[in-house]
């Protein structure tokens, strides 16, 4: 089942039933139409056509998905894998997609479940394994040492520090607050959409959002 890995954030509410209780969700869009086509092709056994159409769907959603995963995981490679896994999962479970509902909500739900699972696995690993030096950071440091036309080294350093501070502050939020904040603020989801994605009540979503903003302001002080 798709929601087999759902944790406390996404309680035992089947994917299909979440949106049923929210009839005011945006009408199915182009992505939903493409997903419906993929589903039909698979049903007809035309896997090549299904793959082609799914490629188009990936192209439309992957930038947004990568942003969300990156803000959740704060690691490019991890985010990349989470996005890949989510799309593969969507394709293999496309039969359970309901054409009359927005594909984006369904997909985001799967993606966030994957990200949360990865975060848990990372915490488990961190308890037992001493982290090795970050190769990517090293490469990035080398790339940044090469003169470029972009911002000055001081500006880059300040920007990086600020981003680290923000990421650290967002990371300190409780899981639900963080999820709601990332979806509402970074992804621009409405509280209704976040409610459909997370399975939380709409008013609960708003409460989590305000608490998250308040906590971030106290953590970041003058920066926010």
């Amino acid at each position: 089942m798709l929601n087999a890995t759902a944790d406390a954030l996404l309680p035992d509410v089947p994917v299909e039933t979440v949106a049923v209780s929210l009839p005011d969700l945006p009408r199915p869009d182009e992505d939903s139409r493409i997903a419906a086509e993929v589903k039909a092709y698979i049903r007809d056994g035309n896997l090549a056509a299904a793959r082609d159409r799914f490629g188009a769907l990936v192209g439309r959603q992957q930038r947004r998905a990568s942003r969300i995963a990156y803000h959740f995981l704060r690691d490019a490679a991890d985010a990349d894998e989470a996005v890949q896994d989510s799309f593969v999962k969507v394709f293999s479970h496309i039969e359970s997609f309901r054409e009359d509902l927005p594909f984006e909500v369904w997909f985001t739900r799967i993606l966030i479940n994957g990200c949360l699972d990865r975060q848990k696995a990372r915490r488990r690993r961190a308890r037992w394994i001493v982290p090795a030096p970050d190769r990517e950071q090293g490469e990035r440091a080398w790339v940044e040492s090469v003169p470029a036309r972009g911002p000055s080294p001081e500006e880059s350093l300040l920007l990086r520090e600020r981003r680290t501070q923000i990421a650290s502050a967002v990371g300190k939020l409780p899981e639900r607050q963080r999820t709601v904040f990332l979806l509402c603020h970074y992804d621009g989801c409405s509280s209704r959409e976040v409610s459909a994605i997370t399975g939380l009540n709409e008013s609960t979503v708003r409460v989590h959002l305000f608490r998250a903003v308040r906590k971030l302001r106290s953590l970041l002080g003058g920066s926010l």
Binding site: R51, G59, A76, A79, V88, F91, R162, I166, L209, S223
Partner: protein
């Protein structure tokens, strides 16, 4: 205009496009903002950093996920679909699936047994050490151990002591050791083979004469 100034949460809700509040309420807050300078300033103060944060977050992610990286990601996803990858799975080899399942179920028990055995061994060794230390008693070597010690360790000790003696004494002792070794029965049996084998010393003499 609203009678009371809207709270921070209301202003933040307005920024996030809060659909929870009624349309009338939202309209009233907006109208209030148009007429109240301090609330407009407060709204800007509250939301401008949030907006900066959002834009910065988007640009940060876009710096990491360049178009080339997204293309590669898409290609990998399609590759995985082609391979029919549905995540990692265990392949029961060479045992049958039933046996594999059973071993998986029994695994925690065997792990406990192994852990208990290791702990018991460790406790036993430690207890032995403690008892030995407490009584100050040493274990007497058995005759076999004593004999082995005399034959194996003693010559080495003799050789070591000879190394510290004067050079001539050391050389003589070493030569006599070699002679004794050559005359021993086992070495004598190999003397025929030794004669058939060219020696380095002889070869060196021949080479010198040829030169």
């Amino acid at each position: 205009m609203e009678r009371f100034h809207p709270a921070d949460d209301r202003l933040i809700a307005l920024y996030f496009g809060d659909e929870g509040a009624g349309a009338d309420e939202r309209r009233a807050v907006r109208q209030h903002l148009h007429g109240c300078e301090s609330c407009t300033w407060r709204f800007t103060e509250l939301t401008a950093p949030l907006e900066r944060l959002r834009q910065d977050a988007a640009s940060e992610a876009d710096e990491v996920f360049t178009p080339a990286r997204l293309d590669a990601q898409r290609a990998r996803i399609l590759d995985r679909l082609d391979q029919g990858s549905h995540g990692s799975r265990l392949i029961p080899f060479p045992a049958s699936r039933a046996r594999l399942d059973r071993s998986v179920v029994r695994r925690p028990i065997t792990r406990w047994v192994a852990a208990a055995a290791a702990a018991g061994l460790l406790l036993g060794v430690m207890a032995g050490r403690v008892l030995e230390f407490g009584t100050g008693r040493t274990v007497a070597p058995t005759p076999v151990v004593r004999e082995a010690r005399d034959t194996l360790i003693a010559p080495r000790l003799v050789s070591n002591s000879l190394m510290t003696a004067a050079g001539a004494e050391y050389d003589e002792a070493m030569i006599s050791e070699i002679e004794q070794a050559v005359q021993s029965q086992r070495i004598a049996a190999l003397s025929a083979l030794d004669q058939m084998t060219p020696h380095v010393r002889q070869e060196a003499v021949v080479a010198r004469v040829m030169r």
